[in-house]
């Protein structure tokens, strides 16, 4: 850890000596999330009632000189649940800009697509345990150590992203969450750090009429692992190869905003769907619409579907005792937002509901800006479902109350 500090300080002092327009900002934040179901995770060093208890000091430095710029956003974190200190480099990159193209190298958060908390063509790293334990929304997204080349023209623009180092989704783990797992996980097998294992993503985009239209291509790996049995009770996680071909459109429609996104998940290691440890290929789609119904009140709905290819092969190869997915997995989301008191008070509700898995995730949240630099939010994450083996159903015992207090400077 110490060498990281030294490199950081050296880089910053060197760069800042040459750069103009240095800015420094940040925040101090406390975040706490407590399970309210009265249940405690068994046999766990991080067990108990708390899903998160973070104190963070964010430092954000930016600087620029001529056509180059840099940005560093880093959190010093004390995690009270595990009693650990760490540095969380959220982003740290260098930009080089010309008239027709930009280059960005380093850790960067990239967000693509038209979904609201639903992602198809955005395969970039995410932290779902942050979302499920009520950390501020920005912590759902995690930086990629990547090189991004953006090319601009009047006709069409492009982003090309190369990610040499694989970064899977951070899913809730059994140290803090109640989860369904049919087997004991004894190991995680991530793709080797080889050049041919680099993830490559391409986005081509332009305006089509009044719609922002994008085409996406991705080659890399599933970010949610497959499970390879090692014995009758033990298994290891691994990340099969994946290609995604997709598109998105977003624009004004019927006095609101219409969002459409689709993508084909090509399961490269299991194209015929015979391997039960690897997800089958599937077609995924989102249809969303949001509208302001009255002053400072907005509502948005989304319909999400996942159509599994080679469903017969999936049914035949699925081991006995494992929960079976439907051929079409669907989700309906609803977002309601009301701003009050000169936008200082925001009341929000976000819900996920799956009609086929009959499970749900509901997040009511209130946020109040006490002053310009101090805000607080309080909310509840409520999970449930008919079956404790579905995505949200397994989290049933993890309903939690969360609160955040942040001072920005």
């Amino acid at each position: 850890m110490q060498y990281l500090f030294i490199i950081l300080i050296f880089t910053l002092t060197t760069v800042t000596a040459y750069a103009q327009d240095i800015t420094f900002h940040g925040f101090v934040q406390g975040n706490l999330s407590a399970r309210i179901t009265g249940e405690e995770t068994p046999d766990s060093s991080e067990g108990g009632d708390y899903l998160s208890g973070d104190q963070r000091l964010r430092g954000e430095i930016t600087g620029s000189a001529e056509s180059a710029a840099f940005t560093l956003r880093a959190d010093l974190v004390h995690d009270s649940v595990s009693d650990e200190d760490k540095i969380d480099i959220r982003e740290g990159y260098i930009d080089y800009r010309t008239d027709n193209y930009d280059l960005r190298a380093g850790r960067q958060i990239i967000t693509w697509g038209a979904g609201d908390l639903l992602f198809i063509n955005d395969t970039y790293p995410k932290n779902y345990s942050a979302l499920f334990s009520g950390q501020p929304l920005e912590y759902l997204k995690v930086g990629s150590d990547a090189i991004k080349l953006s090319i601009y023209s009047d006709k069409i623009s492009a982003d090309l992203v190369v990610i040499p180092f694989f970064e899977p989704y951070q899913l809730p783990d059994s140290k803090r969450f109640f989860l369904y797992s049919p087997m004991t996980i004894t190991g995680i097998n991530t793709p080797r750090e080889e050049i041919e294992n680099s993830e490559i993503a391409l986005r081509l985009y332009r305006q089509l009429g009044r719609f922002d239209t994008s085409i996406y291509l991705y080659r890399g790996f599933f970010k949610i692992p497959g499970m390879k049995p090692l014995s009758l009770t033990e298994a290891e996680l691994f990340y099969p190869q994946l290609a995604v071909y997709g598109f998105s459109m977003q624009g004004a429609f019927a006095q609101g905003v219409l969002s459409i996104e689709g993508g084909y998940y090509d399961s490269l290691d299991d194209r015929n769907g015979n391997d039960p440890t690897i997800s089958n290929s599937s077609a995924k789609y989102i249809l969303g619409y949001s509208k302001q119904f009255w002053t400072d009140f907005t509502a948005g709905v989304q319909y999400y579907g996942e159509y599994m290819q080679d469903y017969n092969n999936y049914e035949v190869s699925l081991p006995a005792g494992f929960p079976k997915s439907d051929k079409i997995h669907q989700l309906i989301t609803l977002r309601l937002t009301q701003m009050l008191k000169y936008n200082t008070l925001r009341l929000g509700l976000f819900t996920f509901y799956s009609p086929d898995e009959e499970d749900y995730f509901v997040i009511p949240e209130a946020r109040y800006n006490i002053t310009d630099s101090l805000w607080t939010s309080i909310g509840v994450n409520i999970f449930g479902g008919k079956d404790t083996r579905t995505f949200f159903g397994q989290l049933d015992k993890n309903d939690n109350l969360f609160a955040t207090l942040r001072y920005e400077f």
Binding site: A252, V257, M339
Partner: protein, 264 residues
Amino acid sequence: MKIYLKLLLLVFLTVAINPTLLHAEDAADIIKKSQDAFFAQGKDMKARVKMTLLSKSGQQRLRELTMLRKNGAGDEQKYFMYFHNPGDVRGTSFMVYKYPGKDDDRWIFIPAINLVNRIAAKDSRSSFVGSDFTYEDVSGRDVEADTHKYVKEETIQGKPCHVIESTPKSPTEYTKKLSWVDKTTYLPLKDEYYDVQGSLYKVFTADKIDTIGGFPTITKRSMANIKSGHKTEVVFDNIAYNVGLGDDVFSERYLRKPAEKWIK
């Protein structure tokens, strides 16, 4: 025939002696000219905008942003706003394509997750960043959205004004608006908003006018909510017209990473 002539004469006399009717046709023109003078001077404009939100209890909140505007064909306009303060919106950019008679296209960029998203834009009467100003107060309202009537001539702040009454054609949070439009510059010096009960609840005032680049410009304005006691004061600094903003400034590229040259 005689009756027609008499009627014609009657109409002529009524019009001649009643300035209200004489101006009936050009009330809408005056509002249009006023909107152009207020929201559309020059080919483009840049300014540093400081908003002070004052609550009845005396609490202050500040909003600081850079505003860029470019006029297009017809009455189309493009706006770009970059927020410098407060901290929770710092680095957020907001872009609007305005079309007369049609819903705007609006985008927002949220830097913490590097997200560009469309935002629903039907209600232009929503508060602009929590101030007493609405989106329309910042970028103009469709002239056709109201019926306009010439009320009288009146001198305020030592300046002769046209006083125009505007009534929304479809239900809006105000039922009537009176505007005092400077006869020389066509800038609105005062607006009074009346609610459903017919009582005055919001007042706009142009507090300072300077001539910049040849254009008379309101450099300080305020909007006071009489009923809630809340008030917003806005100062425009570093205003420049015809700076040569390209269309590319109003694109996703600059939404994600604004051109420093313009937003400083």
